[in-house]
């Protein structure tokens, strides 16, 4: 009986630690989510890259961007839909991305955490 209880508690602990724990958003993941939020309903591969380059001057490789978009979609922070085919893309459709409510919540939490850490340091302005 004791052994059974130990196995049950181990499985429960395993579920909490390994399966349920959500890792914090990485820096690039946050940038991508914010770019999609800025672009609203016209966020697709090309426009997201351009938005990041214009706003923060960072040139993102297509591979890194698509990998991150797929990962965020898999985490349930983004959803995507296919648009209509366009002639300047050889008749190929765009894949548009939208941030989910879970994604918005996660980015807000991540940014709030940064803001708390910056308070009083005076790095961003008069009061920090």
């Amino acid at each position: 009986m004791t052994v059974n209880l130990q196995i049950a508690s181990f499985i429960e602990m395993y579920y909490i630690v390994v399966m349920k724990k959500t890792p914090p958003l990485g820096e690039f993941e946050q940038i991508v989510i914010l770019a999609i939020l800025q672009l609203e309903d016209v966020a697709y591969g090309v426009s997201i890259r351009q938005e990041i380059r214009v706003r923060i001057g960072r040139t993102v490789s297509p591979g890194a961007l698509y990998t991150t978009l797929d990962r965020l979609e898999n985490k349930g922070l983004l959803i995507s839909r296919m648009g209509d085919p366009t002639t300047n893309r050889g008749g190929r459709a765009k894949r548009f991305y939208t941030v989910t409510s879970n994604g918005t919540q996660r980015i807000a939490e991540a940014q709030a955490a940064f803001r708390k850490m910056l308070t009083g340091l005076g790095l961003l302005g008069v009061n920090g």
Partner: protein, 244 residues
Amino acid sequence: MKNARVMEWLIGAFVGKERATAMIGDQLEMHPDGTRFWRSFLMLLVSVAWRPLAALLVAYASIYLTWIPAFHGWILVSRHLWVHRAGVTTWAPNASIIMREGFWALIFGGISMLECLSAMFAYVLYGFRDAMTIVSAILGGLSLALCWYLWSPEIRIALILGMAIVTLALAATREYRRALAVFTLGISISVAFGWLVLKVSGSFHSGAASLAGIGIIPLITVLMISQLHRKLGATPAVSSIGTR
């Protein structure tokens, strides 16, 4: 661009057709001229292909790490057979038992190797936290332990029970049920296909059967696991780990 369809097919082999269409469309929109498109396409191909290819290499390398424990049961039975034939000792199981148990030990060892190979492949491709990695690592590890202790009826039963308990515990969530389904289906198809390949190649030459066993069956396993994992929607199209 005429060759864009070929490029789309190549990228699609790693990320799926729909995503590949959007990716190639993006590249055509950004770089309508030939040279820059090709450069950009090659970079994209490398970024989507390197992890599956690395996972495949690691999976093949894992064969050399797992074959000793996997075939321990078979080696043990074979050793007894050799001892009996050499007349070193009078103790040995009945020859028919040796052949029967040796056969099953061999089959079970092969399946365990495929399970461990699947775990290594999933670890590199999908990351440590992915359901597919966790399911194949746990079941592959238990199978390997079972091969190692095949000679002991008590440990054998305990490990089979352990596998049943772990399977039931993992089946509690939808994500893990899906991964279990992919794992079971993938390994079953590989074993069936592998048996067919060995049978056909073995009828030509015994060396061809060994080559097919080492070369083709692991390839079928990783293809089955990755395709089923993608088709059943249990995974991102490309790696779940990477630039963050």
